[in-house]
């Protein structure tokens, strides 16, 4: 029983990071109907930035969070300007293929620059922490990642729903033509959504490097889980994606306890069941 609670809790904490990773993805989809299949590779880049800040400059991954956020925000904006903007309004196939090409490219770039070796950080602040309540252990890295992820997710949700610019972002997503008439520049909102998506993904990556090692394929699982969380939550719904991320985390943890090889498969199976029964996702309206 204690094992079950333990794995459920670990899963929930991991789910926090899944939620944050998924938020970036759902933001771009909600605003401009584009699924960034290279999203997992953005997470991987964030993890590498966390790693290299630690190995080259001795920065603790917690301190490198802002660096990762800024760099990934720049990457997100560059990707939007460079390859996404030219294919907007073209056939949907081109958009899918562009981001898949980007996935392969970024993975290849990481392999080329940093070799396929696995790398991980040691002796960080988060690793020194450890909580224990009645036999249930919460590791520092997990705890820090979950708290950081939830704070960041909440900040994004607040920004989108409570600020003027955030509402502009939503407006551009709902009706670009109408938004343009109201003095909102949809193109700038699209760029902003990629900037935000990159930034949140950078935060997620820097939080994850505390807990996981990074290699050029490290993004694969996180990308996969993010798509599932986003689709499950309903494309474009931040709250839905966050909820789905937490849910997948729990499933991941609990299934991982009994059959660790099946953890990802179980998360994907839930996606299939939910989506076939309810094709618009948990909270989506599309």
């Amino acid at each position: 029983m204690i094992d079950l609670i333990q794995s459920g809790l670990s899963g929930l904490l991991l789910g926090g990071v899944f939620a944050l990773a998924a938020v970036g993805l759902t933001l771009v989809f909600g605003v401009m109907d584009v699924v960034n299949f290279a999203h997992g590779e953005f997470v991987m880049l964030g993890m590498y930035i966390g790693f290299f800040s630690w190995s080259l400059f001795g920065l603790d991954p917690l301190l490198s969070i802002p660096i990762a956020a800024v760099v990934l925000a720049v990457v997100g904006t560059l990707v939007y300007q460079g390859v996404i903007r030219p294919v907007l309004g073209r056939n949907p196939l081109a958009q899918v293929i562009v981001t898949f090409g980007l996935l392969v490219f970024l993975r290849g770039l990481a392999q080329f620059l940093w070799t396929p070796n696995e790398r991980s950080v040691q002796n960080t602040i988060a690793r020194g922490l450890r909580f224990e309540v009645g036999g249930v252990v919460v590791g520092g890295p997990q705890f820090v990642a979950a708290v950081g992820a939830l704070l960041c997710t909440a900040a994004v949700a607040w920004f989108i729903h409570r600020t003027e610019v955030g509402r502009g972002l939503q407006a551009a997503g709902e009706d670009p033509g109408g938004a343009a008439l109201m003095g909102i520049n949809p193109d700038r909102m699209y760029a902003l959504s990629w900037l935000l998506a990159g930034g949140t993904t950078g935060v997620a990556g820097a939080l994850l490097i505390n807990q996981f090692s990074v290699s050029p394929v490290a993004g694969a699982t996180f990308g996969l889980i993010s798509f599932v969380a986003v689709a499950l939550g309903g494309f474009g719904s931040v709250a839905g994606a966050a909820l789905a991320g937490l849910m997948i985390g729990v499933v991941y943890g609990v299934v991982g306890l009994y059959a660790s090889a099946y953890a990802t498969a179980a998360a994907l199976a839930i996606y299939l069941v939910v989506v076939v029964a309810r094709p618009q996702g948990l909270r989506g309206t599309r």
Partner: protein, 361 residues
């Protein structure tokens, strides 16, 4: 259905275009020239590298031809086609290990893949757009996990096929020279391209293109959307499975990563799209160019431990998707059309023939 064909809304009318004399003639010239090139290739380029490229390019061209029927013509973007490829590999492996000829095993291999496609299609074709694509990824990854756990399929170690006499019937040849393998996969490619041609030029082809362009409108004018999606996925899966059957005979080995990995699904889809989704020649163009670039860069431009092939391949895909979404086939078509226009204006004639180029996206 007569009225349907008579009205010709967008894609329903884009079936076989009434081709005028000179153009039909030119199409045959093109076809024969291509056939001569493909047949002559292994005789002209005899290096091991070139022959490897040829065999792999054609294997992926066959797999991508399968993908193209579902993704390019029917508009259901699948990122799970490795499961059909893997179904072909595993089915052929199991039957050959039981003593059957690989040629005979291609029938059950295609049948298993087609059944798998229909079983997945039944629930998943309710999903649209990205939901469908992600569902195919999910099914593929789940299948990989399940197969890795099956001991009768060799588990994570996979299956190694027995080495037999080097005959055509056993589909095993000397590995010193891949010419025989090349001609076998070339023959398979010719057959599946012929099949695809028959499928897309007739009524079925008009139906699936209508589904691709707008499935609701297609349903509204009486196209049996669900049935034709299922037919497309069965045929698509069956064809991709043939590529897997050949692949396992060439490698004489199959394990879960080589048969079912997500990266294989992505490779199949990207090759089809890079060559030209919805074009019969797209998979051939995509297979040759991608496999060549990958092999060349991994042999010649690589320092140890720093693989460069993925980098170049990814960049190519991204650039082509941005510049010309209909892939290399689209680029060629555009070049061809411009050439014709240029010729026509030089002769001082009209440009009427320029519009008669069949399936435009």
């Amino acid at each position: 259905m007569a009225t349907l064909e008579g009205q010709a809304p967008a894609s329903l009318g884009a079936g076989p275009v009434p081709v005028t004399g000179p153009l039909r003639y030119r199409r045959w010239v093109f076809l024969i020239a291509l056939a001569v090139l493909l047949v002559a290739y292994p005789r002209v380029f005899v290096s091991g590298f070139a022959q490897n490229v040829g065999v792999n390019a054609l294997t992926f061209a066959v797999a991508a031809t399968g993908w193209n029927l579902l993704g390019g013509f029917t508009g259901q973007i699948s990122f799970g086609h490795a499961m059909f490829f893997g179904a072909g590999m595993y089915t052929t492996a199991v039957f050959v290990m039981a003593g059957m000829s690989p040629w005979i095993s291609m029938l059950p291999a295609a049948a298993v893949a087609a059944t798998l496609g229909v079983l997945i299609g039944l629930p998943c074709f309710r999903l649209r757009g990205h939901y469908f694509s992600i569902a195919t990824i999910a099914v593929g990854v789940i299948l990989l996990t399940v197969v890795t756990d099956r001991t009768w399929l060799g588990g994570p170690e996979g299956l190694t096929l027995p080495i037999k006499d080097e005959t055509l019937w056993n589909l095993q040849f000397s590995l010193r020279d891949l010419t025989e393998y090349y001609y076998v996969i070339l023959a398979i490619f010719a057959v599946v391209t012929g099949l695809s041609f028959l499928f897309v030029r007739g009524r079925a082809g008009r139906y699936v293109r209508a589904i691709r362009d707008d499935d609701r409108a297609a349903a509204a004018v009486g196209v049996p959307v669900r049935r034709y999606k299922l037919i497309a996925v069965a045929l698509s899966g069956g064809i991709t499975a043939l590529a897997g059957s050949f692949q396992v005979m060439h490698a004489l080995f199959v394990d879960p990563p080589s048969a079912l990995d997500l990266s294989l699904s992505i490779q199949i889809a990207l090759i089809a799209v890079f060559g030209g989704a919805g074009s019969l020649w797209g998979p051939l163009l995509g297979g040759w160019s991608i496999i060549f670039v990958q092999s060349y860069s991994s042999v010649h431009w690589q320092t140890p431990g720093r693989p460069v092939d993925l980098l170049i391949y990814g960049a190519l895909i991204t650039i082509v998707a941005v510049v010309e979404p209909s892939g290399l086939a689209g680029l060629f078509r555009r070049g061809w059309r411009n050439g014709e226009r240029w010729l026509a204006t030089r002769r001082g004639g009209g440009v009427h023939r320029v519009t008669v180029t069949g399936d435009r996206r």
